[in-house]
Symmetry: C2
Subunit: 250 residues, 2 copies
């Protein structure tokens, strides 16, 4: 499976790290990538700091097939992502005519085309624009890095465009099986199932139910549908084998 493309998500913004904003863009990217057969290996949230952004982009771009960023491409002084990404690849950046034309179509060439808005036409040399059907100002792809907006509706619209710009890998399939027994009971047998099915990733996810008590979902994932079906059968047999066990506890 060494030819499976991998990805990293880079969430840029003080507002996530201060707790003011809940990042939702990672989950949106994760779902798109899952459908494309691309493994999201890491998600990182960092501050609005140019050197930090540049270093993180360099680090992640060197170790993953694709990097997706969200945040910091608007018109205000704290929007520094485009410059920082350009710096990561030692690429010049300036107002580009194709990006400017998008803003002109929206704001005209009068007073509404403010210097602040023109900041959103700053695109690194050689970058490919990413459509923004929500509010116009584009994202861009530079090398293997896709730079997108932080506003969730805009990010979600952009990632639909990006879906057609990335390659695809063998799709990861998954099944979810609810289990009436707590992890402390199923842990031993589930280890045996996981070991007997090395081509399948077997996870166990406990949750506290609103009314009290624990629920567990067993999730099995594989790119090999035959191996996944065999694991599914084994998990159901394991649960049947636990009949009579306590359903109490963690």
């Amino acid at each position: 499976m060494t030819d499976t493309p991998t990805a990293a998500m880079l969430v840029i913004g003080d507002e996530v790290l201060s707790g003011r904003t809940q990042d939702c863009n990672t989950q949106v990217a994760a779902k798109m990538l899952g459908e494309a057969g691309i493994d999201l290996h890491e998600a990182r949230a960092i501050r609005d700091d140019a050197a930090t952004i540049t270093a993180a982009v360099r680090d992640l771009a060197a170790s993953h097939t694709y990097v997706f960023t969200s945040g910091g491409i608007g018109p205000t002084h704290d929007d520094i992502t485009a410059e920082a990404v350009a710096a990561a690849f030692d690429t010049p950046i300036g107002i580009r005519e194709d990006a400017r034309a998008i803003l002109v179509a929206r704001y005209g060439t009068g007073a509404d085309l403010t210097d602040a808005r023109l900041r959103m036409a700053r695109i690194p040399d050689g970058a490919v624009l990413i459509d923004n059907p929500v509010s116009g100002a584009p994202g861009f792809r530079l090398e293997n890095v896709f730079v997108m907006a932080g506003v969730p509706q805009v990010f979600a619209a952009m990632i639909e465009h990006v879906r057609d710009m990335v390659g695809t890998g063998p799709k990861m399939h998954d099944i979810s099986i609810p289990c009436p027994y707590p992890e402390g009971v199923l842990g031993g047998p589930l280890t045996a199932v996981a070991e007997a099915h090395p081509r399948v990733s077997v996870g166990s996810y406990p949750r506290l139910k609103p009314g009290g008590g624990w629920g567990v979902t067993i999730v099995a994932r594989s790119r090999d549908t035959d191996a996944l079906a065999a694991a599914e059968t084994a998990i159901h047999a394991m649960i049947e084998g636990l009949e009579g066990s306590t359903t109490e506890g963690e």
Copy 2:
């Protein structure tokens, strides 16, 4: 501000990166840290892979005052965080009597004290336990790394305990000011405000309103309350100065 403690959050779990689960623990940690005056500088989500966890813990522990982890300390085979954190500090790990006693108090010494549950008593040498009032099995602190559960209710309960285990820094104060003008209009004047108030971090956060159109919130943050008050006055004056500007557009 070089003496301000910094922190990193490390979210461990395939379920976050697959998009199956939305991480909420980072925001809970961020809010606690904000109240304690500790700057959360980075949040990272990584896979359930021992070498990846160990490398990330080493990296983050070396560059931050504190590291907080969530996930991977339950009773099943995919819970490998404790071993990976111990490995990051070259520390031996085994079933520790104090942690075992907590599980015995909950499950007795009979069949309910399964091998799977005993995995949750595996604590690195020298680590300090972190209370788990929800389900018993403790987290732990090893060096500057706090290892906690991924289940949100348990994580939230553990972080309340951790609050008393960390130092505090000078508190970061913040103000939020709603602005009727879009970022493309306020961007220029806001840059001037930010430059005139170097001790204050000024951010601008646009959002799409449910009924359509954009809303903007200006957030100013500082540890210096006098500087923050001066910036607040300047931001209000800036907004008054924009009277008559269009409220349309991004």
